[in-house]
Point group: C3
Chain length 115, copies 3
């Protein structure tokens, strides 16, 4: 069976498609000077962009894992999330606190979507 | 392809079914006054309940990710886990420490199951 | 549909195969006296071994989640990762810091692969 890989760099692909599903790399902010709500908006924008590249969309996300550098920012992340998530297509989700690979990143989100 | 979503709230669905798999939201205790072993039993009960709603069961869990607020409670979580996990149907599993979205939650478990 | 389980112990299977995918348990070092780079090499060796047991290989990994006990060791982990990951088959990936189930473990990696 064929595997499609999108935006492959030295360490990872930003999206891998196989078997009917798209697995995205954990997305972080494009401008990490933003606050948690702004970083979350950027992350969700990156997810939209990658899903479009593989021919799917946020309406078909199955599962999301959200890592917050500081879990006390849960409400700020959720403001951006709730403005973005489709009313009739909410994915399964888990949110936990975890330090990310650079201190300026406040949120990282990884999703699996149906293509 | 069709996507089934169970118990959708403002932010997420508690289970999403597509492509032969059920993705559950990370489950936490229904009564967080319990200790880690008790919370784990509640979490596993919620997982049983959601799997039944989508027509599958713990015998068909493929993978589980377990987040413990304090990894020194690993043994307590495992007592509840080992009493619950089917002898002939053990899923793949990873357990790590992570602060959860409210301090009273001691354990969160997210699973993927075959439907 | 059939589910194949590999190396099942008291709590988990090291790999579970169903629906065209292999879900591996989070792998840790076989000799935790090694440094992060050495532990990562061991972990990736275990992943190679388990993928071979289920009839697939690192060329078909879809997604990897990497937990580092200390995220400042990101570069050391990546040295072992980049030496191992196939140039034309990079998986999606997320890396976060998380305390692992024993203090001697510095890195844990969990993957999903196409069989």
């Amino acid at each position: 069976m064929q595997i499609r890989r999108i935006e492959s760099g030295a360490r990872m692909s930003q999206a891998v498609v196989a078997n009917g599903c798209a697995y995205l790399a954990g997305q972080v902010a494009t401008d990490p000077s933003a606050d948690v709500e702004g970083q979350t908006r950027q992350v969700l924008g990156e997810i939209d962009r990658l899903l479009a590249l593989v021919g799917t969309s946020k309406d078909r996300i199955l599962s999301a894992t959200i890592y917050l550098a500081d879990v006390s920012t849960f409400g700020q992340m959720n403001r951006a999330w709730e403005a973005w998530v489709p009313a009739d297509a909410k994915p399964a989700r888990a949110t936990v606190e975890a330090k990310l690979v650079a201190p300026e990143y406040k949120v990282e989100i990884q999703v699996v979507a149906l293509v």
